[in-house]
Symmetry: C2
Amino acid sequence: MRHAIVLAGGGGTRLWPASRRAHPKQLLPLGAREGETLLSATTHRLIPLVGLERLWIVTAAEQTPAVWETVPEVPGENLIAEPVPRNTAAAIGLAAVFVRARDPDAVVAAIPADQHVGEEGGFQQAAEQAFAAAERTGNIVTIGLLPTRAETGFGYLELGDELEPGLHRVARFVEKPDAETARRYLEGKRHLWNGGMFFFHAGRFLEEVARHLPETGQALAAIAKALADGGPHVAEQVSSEKYPHVPAISVDFGVMEKASAILTVKGTFGWNDVGSWTSLADYRPADAEGNVTQGLVVTHQARGNVAVCEPDKLVALLGVHDLVVVQAGNAVLVLPRSRAQDVREIVRLLEAKKLGEYL
Amino acid sequence: MRHAIVLAGGGGTRLWPASRRAHPKQLLPLGAREGETLLSATTHRLIPLVGLERLWIVTAAEQTPAVWETVPEVPGENLIAEPVPRNTAAAIGLAAVFVRARDPDAVVAAIPADQHVGEEGGFQQAAEQAFAAAERTGNIVTIGLLPTRAETGFGYLELGDELEPGLHRVARFVEKPDAETARRYLEGKRHLWNGGMFFFHAGRFLEEVARHLPETGQALAAIAKALADGGPHVAEQVSSEKYPHVPAISVDFGVMEKASAILTVKGTFGWNDVGSWTSLADYRPADAEGNVTQGLVVTHQARGNVAVCEPDKLVALLGVHDLVVVQAGNAVLVLPRSRAQDVREIVRLLEAKKLGEYL
């Protein structure tokens, strides 16, 4: 049967001050619909493909209550808690152990919780093709996104042979390019953005983990044995003992770049990793002056700004242009739109100044 | 005896969003010392001149509790409440009625609550000279400020004959000048800023009000009679009936520009009307990058900004310059420093949009 694992363990700070340690990006109301969280949008995108009973969410233990509050329709036993965050290779592996225990022949889509999809139908179609290819070939299949701009912030997939319309071998994974290389990728149409969405037989994935990340493989095997022999509570105890010692490494770097025979489906459905505040301007409509806003924002002779505030709060902009202004919780952030990627510098500064209560 | 009336009835919006209808500028912690309100600074500047027992505050009825909380040392019977705001001519008149009832020969300093003074000693000296001149001559005496820049935002006094060092007749009051005229005033040294500080015999002031603002004069006479015959509670009842009908007019326009033989003491003590957010930069020290801040403000590659937030809040500025950023209550304001005077445009916009809960 088909299953989906939503990867909801991220604790990113690029959307600070709205995203916090205890309230990460996937829990922010940044879906296409006003008020909808990215996690909720992602979950509802996957339910039609696999059914609610086979929709799993893996998240950090301390985020489990907030996650369940956001998507209460997901069965409680399908929420899998990482005792500590150990990045995506381990998180997908942990979830795959639980999925396979329930369904030994499970074919799984592992999908980040914090991305935006423009055309739901296009996503469904690409996911259907990726599921089918994973089932038929036994290989790991990813969805790559046809670039729409010379983006230097993403990793890319280089396309190999076309196996069927829209389905290619991955020739290789390539790191974030410089601007000139990104421009060539955009024009050449032989490279796709790596969107971090993977489809695979649970068993095959765990084999790849065991091969390329043996420590992780051993920990996961111990958890799988505890689950089979002792049930979920024993598995949880073993997990809390073993999991903290596995390397924190991304699935892309730790598994996918090393695995053989990866396939990719070409996606063209309007995709955004919501990697910075300016991402909002990529998929939310702007007003006549080019301001993209969320919450109550009043502008006067202001243009090209991205402004966000919480319910019951107000942001007023007068005569400013091309700024990002965010009010969230106990903090306000102001920076030029062109420097939206540099929010991490503020985060580092707050860490250095021991102002953790604002992170 | 010498008395002082602190004029604390203002409801200005130029420091929105920190100043609100219910929380005006004089109650903001914008004194020279961190955390000190302008009202508190003004009150403590006057106590050495007149003594606590002769320090009066006139304020809007609904602001009385907040005012008393800010300066609890002021005797309760010295707080005079305007039933409704009717600008400074009526407010000073109302206070003068109460002062004269207690002390028929009172000489009064009427001082706005919402100004900043740089050198307290210089202010004391000028006020001493103004009190003495008012006592000796029986005329109304003002303190004018020697301009330090070609300011177009203030009214001016044109100097007449010098009566003693630092004491002149006022030849005339002049309206806010254009930039060229302001430049001439600055160079000519024959014009002073009108700072709205007046020293006078209470009886003389009430005569001038009766002459130039007869409706106000009649209302004040009725309140004075009620106070003499029936005491404070009866006076309050008469005030709540009569006061709302007096014209709302400033003391400058309604009385001073029409009164004869006004004198002025030349003040050089570092004076600021705190008329906009950039005023803060005139008397608060800037950091090495020229940022003037109040509250917890973290900057990175940001210069020349004025940033203000409340206790327990944080403002983070990255890569922006010459902005005003204010967090206060349920609102955040961002605008260029060069447009600090235009906050009223945002206030008008909020009124037009029926967003009064943010004003």
